[in-house]
């Protein structure tokens, strides 16, 4: 591997609590009359993209917003269930901005930037205010004030929620803010469009090429800056809690134009999902982490116990999270809960027909609080569980198992959320910035909206105020070249005329990723993956079959384009996992664990971000490094005991 560069996250100087405020003062402003001269492209309309598009257009920028769905309201943020964190301290239980910052840094296993995480905690309260002002119907107490609940990785109740549909309500808030700006003619929305190329002029990101998913046309879009808010890459595993259309292609196009991809090995396996039922399985469904507030996780004490749960007496059950982690119990962070479920299943104590599940039991909660209370809290989740499994969780404990859910890695960005390509900004799950090696529950919604409502509206102006832009339009040769590249790739895929569908390749990739780059990783397995993935990629380019035409709706072509990118990204994920010889958060290297099977970090050698640089299809990428400096928190072995 070539020796990488040291890169700078551009964290402002000064005391942690003052950095953002001081930075906002130091940044250049664009005056209101000039803002309307700038055009900004926003790709993705989830919480990050939607909130950014709305907020930037309110400031006066011209905004073009793009989504692959038939409406911006359908972005996958909509599926987030549990809630959004903020340190309002309404319950008076000792919360503060500092505690939210501390919990998030610790939850991320000390692999995120202090300054970014502090800023996130700092603006979180404004997000709640903003959403309430938009008419988001958060849960409330009888006195009319907002309700809070607790979530994994925290000992305070700081999570705001709207039943089990918090993501939906926050997204509809951001979407309605966008629609308000559409009404005013300040945002133009392009639906059913997929970004297939990033366009750069004189080293700056200036536009994109999209494929119109209805007509197949390749379209050129020019602007002064490009914002990617295109979500995570969990579908590299094929089975995940992501939507079927969620993909990494926009981010991957940027990577191949020189944007660094940071920490691709940091993936989050969510502990409470409905287990796989058969080969036909197309996706996995998450059961909100909020269920762990009342549900108790257990397995039989005896290996291979095939009795029904109701036939296993209390004394023969192992409530292993409560036993191992008495102070956090069932509310340990996600990575810890997932790994422990896997350990139980590996030990032969898993339940259900496959043995790849553990119980999440509400019997005690129903006894304590009554059926009606539990129904009011979780009714919609229980109904969803029953629809999928045909079992009633009020009577029979839920069967749950970990599933790929969120990716902490993503395109590298500096403190201003700009990638190393000038003019290319990356927001939300698509960037790598705030969750380190593990994201805490109810923090994704917080980060997406923080980036879009409160960070980018400040930092984008500073970019325009400090950079000059080459006058250009879509006639520029960069557009012709990018369009030709996209066209060439599409034709190549169409002309393979092999025998295997894109889904078949995707499923094969998913199995490799889950086995070798999943919950437990080791050197031997990762080397195996690094052989198998390129071999599968070769097979893909030789034996793929794409039916249909290029100038019509073509679902097979859409899938093929995305799978082609996952086949490259999967390899980078394995490569990054192999290079990071420590365990941290969701990245568990079996060679690096404590005697109690907890993740063991190697702070001397790995307190850094790995930012991978593309060097060509036939060359290994370079691993650049951003050192992480901790001036305010002390690195400790995470303990939830």
């Amino acid at each position: 591997m070539s020796e990488g560069k040291k890169i700078d996250g551009k964290v402002p100087a000064g005391a942690l609590e003052k950095k953002w405020e001081q930075h906002k003062f130091n940044m250049k402003l664009v005056n209101p009359a000039n803002k309307r001269k700038y055009k900004v492209i926003v790709v993705g309309t989830g919480l990050a993209g939607g909130s950014a598009a709305a907020s930037l257009s309110e400031l006066g920028y011209q905004v073009d917003a793009f989504c692959i769905q038939d409406s911006p309201r359908r972005a996958h943020s909509i599926a987030a269930q549990g809630g959004i964190n903020a340190a309002k301290n309404y319950p008076n239980d000792g919360d503060s901005v500092w505690r939210l910052f501390y919990d998030t840094i610790k939850g991320g296993d000390y692999r995120s930037r202090e300054a970014n995480v502090y800023r996130l905690a700092e603006v979180a309260n404004s997000i709640i205010d903003q959403c309430v002002a938009q008419g988001v119907p958060f849960a409330r107490e009888y006195g009319g004030t907002l309700s809070n609940r607790s979530f994994g990785g925290a000992q305070v109740s700081r999570t705001f929620y709207a039943r089990g549909q918090t993501g939906q309500q926050l997204l509809l808030g951001a979407y309605s803010a966008m629609m308000k700006q559409v009404h005013k003619g300040k945002i133009k929305v392009y639906t059913r469009r997929e970004m297939v190329e990033l366009v750069m002029i004189d080293g700056q990101a200036r536009g994109i090429i999209t494929r119109n998913l209805v007509t197949g046309e390749l379209e050129k879009h020019h602007a002064d800056a490009v914002i990617l808010a295109t979500g995570g890459y969990g579908n590299a595993y094929y089975l995940s809690t992501n939507a079927m259309g969620s993909n990494a292609s926009a981010a991957w196009r940027a990577y191949k134009k020189g944007a660094y991809f940071a920490n691709p090995c940091y993936t989050q396996i969510h502990p409470t999902c409905i287990p796989v039922s058969g080969d036909h399985q197309s996706k996995l469904t998450l059961m909100s982490e909020s269920l762990r507030n009342d549900g108790r996780v257990w397995v039989p004490k005896k290996k291979g116990d095939k009795r029904k749960p109701s036939e296993i007496p209390e004394g023969e059950r192992d409530y292993y999270l409560e036993r191992i982690y008495p102070s956090f119990g069932n509310l340990v962070p996600r990575d810890v809960a997932s790994r422990n479920a896997k350990l139980q299943a590996d030990d032969g104590k898993g339940v259900g027909s496959t043995g790849m599940a553990v119980y999440l039991d509400f019997a005690d909660a129903i006894k304590r609080d009554g059926y009606e209370t539990i129904k009011a809290k979780y009714g919609n989740l229980f109904d969803m569980y029953e629809r999928i499994t045909d079992e009633n969780p009020y009577d029979i404990p839920m069967r749950i198992y970990p599933a790929v859910h969120y990716t902490m890695g993503g395109l590298w960005v500096d403190y201003n959320l700009m990638s190393n390509i000038p003019g290319l900004f990356v927001l939300g799950e698509a960037n790598f910035s705030d969750h380190g090696a593990n994201r805490l529950g109810a923090s994704a919604l917080m980060q997406g909206l923080a980036d879009g409502y409160f960070v980018i509206p400040n930092t984008l102006g500073n970019y325009f105020g400090t950079h000059s832009l080459t006058p250009a339009d879509t006639q520029h040769s960069a557009y012709t070249e990018a369009t030709a590249a996209a066209e060439q790739k599409i034709n190549q895929l169409m002309n393979i005329k092999g025998t295997k569908s894109a889904d078949q390749f995707h499923k094969e990739l998913g199995l490799i990723m889950w086995e070798f780059v999943g919950m437990g990783r080791n050197e031997k397995g990762l080397n195996e993956a690094l052989k198998k993935i390129p071999a599968l990629r070769k097979d893909f380019w030789k034996n793929l079959r794409v039916t249909g035409e290029t100038d019509n709706i073509n679902i097979e072509l859409e899938k093929a384009l995305r799978v082609a990118d996952f086949l490259e990204l999967g390899e980078l994920m394995a490569r990054d996992s192999l290079a990071r010889k420590e365990s941290c958060g969701g990245h568990f290297r079996e060679e690096s664990q404590t005697p109690e099977n907890e993740a063991k970090r190697d702070d001397d050698n790995f307190t850094h971000v790995a930012a991978w640089e593309y060097c060509g299809d036939d060359k290994a990428p370079i691993r650049n490094v951003e050192e992480l400096k901790f001036e305010n928190v002390k690195l400790t072995q995470r303990s939830y005991k």
Binding site: S51, R163, G278, I553
Partner: protein, 265 residues
């Protein structure tokens, strides 16, 4: 809700079903379109309805035929992307359930299932089972928002809201914008969709200043886009996967008349 019968086991294959499908095929918006028959011989009761279509599509690709285009995304009942008239019912036979959450155990071995796209003037077919629902976005842009910019609003708890109203607003806000209400209505009316959004804001103190304009503009846009009128058949409520109540239509009508009176006074 589903019954609590014995759990199907995938391994033994004994429960696998034969299903005949009659599916609407239409090459593009201009094509006339027609029904076509398909046969599946080993459908597992644990498959979701869309996973059953995935299996059919894999078969079609294997035969070098064009797979069936249908809208879907989250597959957990919340994004509102999936649609389908299944045996004449929007989202199929299970109450309060989107197509993606419908499972094949609701059907029997030997069943014939007819699958068509949403039918409405305002939702033109784009290909096979995919339709263009951008009319809903246009209605939202006509007034489905609170006119407040990102900035520094007052503290969230400075605006107490009675729990009852917050809950009713949430009931209305749960709409996923799938369009089942329009597809199931003989007039292709969008009153339940619009009523739900108008109700959410009518029940909350936020956005009261623009309430009269909101309801007038949203209703006008709905009419302009070719959605029909409500004749109180309540098919929309029966087919709604999120159980949105038609009382929201009544609330919208009250808002509408109040706005009209205000304009005339």
């Amino acid at each position: 809700m589903a019954g609590h019968g014995p759990k199907h086991s995938e391994q033994d294959g004994a429960d696998l079903m034969k299903i005949t499908l009659k599916i609407w095929r239409q090459k593009n918006a201009q094509d006339k379109g027609q029904m076509e028959d398909y046969q599946l011989d080993s459908v597992s009761p644990d498959m979701s309805f869309l996973e059953m279509l995935d299996v059919l599509n894999e078969d079609l690709v294997a035969k070098e035929s064009d797979p069936i285009a249908f809208d879907h995304d989250c597959r957990e009942g919340i994004c509102g992307t999936c649609s389908l008239m299944i045996n004449g019912q929007a989202h199929g036979p299970e109450k309060a359930t989107t197509t993606c959450q419908l499972h094949m155990r609701k059907f029997k071995d030997g069943d014939t299932i007819v699958i068509e796209p949403w039918r409405a003037k305002a939702f033109p077919v784009q290909k096979d089972l995919m339709v263009d629902r951008s009319a809903f976005d246009q209605i939202m842009a006509a007034g489905g928002f609170v006119d407040i910019n990102t900035g520094a609003p007052q503290d969230a708890n400075a605006l107490p809201i009675a729990k009852e109203n917050a809950e009713l607003a949430m009931d209305a806000a749960a709409c996923i914008g799938c369009g089942a209400c329009v597809a199931s209505c003989e007039n292709a009316s969008a009153m339940l969709f619009v009523g739900a959004k108008v109700s959410q804001f009518a029940l909350l103190p936020q956005g009261q200043l623009e309430a009269p304009d909101r309801v007038k503009n949203m209703v006008a846009k709905m009419d302009e886009l070719g959605f029909g009128n409500c004749t109180n058949e309540a098919e929309c409520e029966a087919s709604c996967p999120k159980d949105i109540s038609i009382s929201n239509i009544a609330r919208m009508n009250r808002e509408f008349f109040a706005a009209a009176l205000k304009a005339n006074s």
